[in-house]
């Protein structure tokens, strides 16, 4: 576990964080300018705190009161930067093996294992200038892994990539989490991204920790919800693939016993995947509707209703929480209240397969 208790002043901005990050993955979430990257730089040792300490398991990384400061090269903390920051003069192979010979102990993961896991072998001879954004991030991830870190810091590794590429990189991150078992601190401002890796989040705002813990517990808090709403909240559901029906242009998936139809994709039957559904793409009905073109409806129970920026955010328990954004008028007309059974209607084409 990583425990942080520090403060650092940057001009007018003060970062003051006291929090613990449980394994395997903790996400740090917050609007831009909330101090996410600064916090990572403090954990990595690239910036020194004004006061406080950072402990990784039983190791002290920095403790100002004890005048202890472990320099970044001795922290064994890997860092994947937002814009990859590959060494432009070295090939992919050179970038990956940069940490070779600098490491003071045997790597827990072999070079070949990393190359295989991240599918880097076709890229080894190329210079970073000739890589696409997604390839750069994979190399950056590989380079950090070769240094055999005890903790991996990821600073919005997907933010420079388009949606399609993002969903191609995420499985690699899940591989790192599940097969290499390296703990991660994952910084992002995309809830959809975070939820595909972890439920544990720390929410930062203006340099302070607004809340930390399980995402769905936090999401219902009145001071947290508006933050999520700012980004056009997207729900993430993990579903199992049941059947591909190319003739109808759909694929059938199962979400906790309820079927959903999504735009056809050649999916592996029996495998699982993540669906992204935006809170304002969901329609609520108090009974199973008839005579509608919408095919998807998830039955659930209203768990909570919150005010968010003049709209109502209805939290529906469909097995997990599904957040639905509706107008106050709609809440009033439907007579929505806690404990009521509702149907969440979702157009197949507003579902994003990630």
């Amino acid at each position: 576990m990583l425990s942080i208790d520090l403060s650092k002043r940057f001009g007018d901005f003060e970062l003051e964080v006291s929090v613990t990050c449980p394994y395997p993955v903790t996400a740090i979430f917050g609007p831009s300018g909330s101090g996410k990257t600064s916090l990572l730089n403090l954990i990595a040792g690239l910036v020194r705190p004004d006061c406080g300490r950072v402990l990784l398991d039983d190791r002290t990384l920095v403790d100002v009161s004890l005048k202890e400061f472990v320099p970044p090269e001795e922290r064994r903390v890997g860092y994947v930067f937002q814009d990859a920051l590959l060494f432009p003069h070295l090939t992919v192979q050179g970038n990956l093996s940069f940490a070779d010979g600098l490491r003071k102990r045997e790597s827990r993961i072999s070079f070949d294992q990393i190359v295989t896991l991240l599918e880097l072998s076709p890229l080894l001879d190329r210079l970073p200038g000739r890589l696409s954004g997604g390839e750069k991030q994979r190399v950056a991830l590989g380079r950090a892994l070769v240094s055999s870190p005890d903790l991996l810091l990821l600073d919005e590794p997907l933010s420079s990539l388009d949606i399609g590429l993002q969903s191609r990189i995420l499985p690699y991150l899940r591989h790192v989490r599940d097969s290499l078992k390296i703990p991660m601190i994952y910084v992002s401002h995309s809830v959809a991204e975070i939820l595909q890796l972890t439920g544990q989040v720390i929410i930062l705002k203006e340099g302070k920790v607004l809340a930390s813990g399980d995402f769905f517990d936090l999401a219902s808090k009145p001071d947290v919800l508006p933050l999520l709403g700012d980004f056009g909240f997207e729900n993430v559901l993990k579903v199992d693939v049941v059947e591909n029906r190319p003739a109808e242009g759909v694929s059938l998936v199962d979400y906790r016993g309820q079927g959903l139809k999504i735009p056809h994709a050649d999916l592996t039957v029996g495998g699982s995947l993540f669906l992204g559904i935006r809170a304002n793409d969901v329609i609520l009905a108090h009974s199973q509707p008839e005579g509608l073109s919408i095919r998807n409806s998830l039955q659930g129970i209203v768990a909570d209703i919150q005010d968010v920026n003049g709209m109502k955010m209805v939290s529906v328990d469909v097995g997990k929480r599904l957040l639905v954004e509706v107008t106050s008028e709609a809440v009033h007309e439907l007579g929505l209240s806690r404990g009521q059974t509702v149907y969440c209607l979702i157009k197949a084409h507003s579902i994003r397969v990630t």
Partner: protein
């Protein structure tokens, strides 16, 4: 070319190479400091380093003579402790051209270092590199073409240096008489036109080679990023 003309060429090359070797460590450290840090008096340091670029070379030579001459504050110490005297010596020609060429070298190196993302050093640190290794292996390696250009500029400036050299090191054949000084001397001799012309051609060829080499380095600087 006559053997004595070849000697002139050889002396000029030696002075040029020594000038680069003498300036390089100072230019790298100063270039790095100016590119990466803000410190009090930074613009003063920057201004002082650039002064030889705008001062008349004769003035630079005069200042060198005052400071590094036998009775100058630094020159007298050098002579009494190390037995080195610079004025009216080939080493003086090296110092004169090093000072005059320094701003050119410093500028090239500083800009080269400024063009390297300082966060790359941080990335190298998180991968286990010590600060020195991060600077040498990443920043200076990436700035290498710019450092090369700085060296060529300083070398070329040394080949062309006249005013400061003639003032500080004088025009002593075989000792401090570099190409431009020799050309000037030959032109003042009644039968020196042929020798002067040959040395002029050598000068042009050398300068041209330097420009080609520096262009080449410049293009590698662009493709590297």
């Amino acid at each position: 070319m006559t053997p004595s003309e070849l000697d002139i060429l050889w002396l000029s090359t030696q002075v040029g190479i020594c000038c680069v070797v003498l300036s390089l460590p100072f230019a790298m450290v100063l270039g790095w400091l100016l590119a990466r840090f803000d410190f009090p008096g930074k613009s003063l340091v920057d201004g002082l380093c650039h002064l030889p670029l705008v001062l008349p070379p004769v003035v630079t030579g005069y200042v060198l003579l005052t400071v590094f001459g036998r009775r100058g504050p630094v020159g007298s110490i050098l002579e009494s402790t190390l037995g080195i005297h610079l004025a009216f010596d080939w080493k003086g020609a090296v110092l004169a051209s090093a000072v005059v060429g320094f701003p050119l070298m410093l500028r090239a190196i500083r800009q080269g270092i400024e063009a390297v993302d300082p966060r790359l050093e941080g990335a190298a640190r998180t991968l286990g590199a010590t600060p020195l290794r991060a600077i040498l292996g990443v920043t200076l390696r990436l700035a290498a073409p710019a450092i090369g250009i700085g060296c060529l500029l300083s070398f070329a400036r040394s080949l062309g240096e006249f005013g400061a050299t003639v003032t500080f090191a004088s025009n002593i054949p075989g000792e401090t008489q570099t190409l431009p000084l020799a050309i000037f001397s030959f032109l003042n001799q009644p039968d020196g036109d042929g020798a002067a012309a040959r040395l002029v051609i050598v000068s042009v060829v050398l300068s041209f080679i330097t420009i080609l080499a520096s262009n080449r380095l410049g293009s590698s600087l662009r493709t590297d990023r």
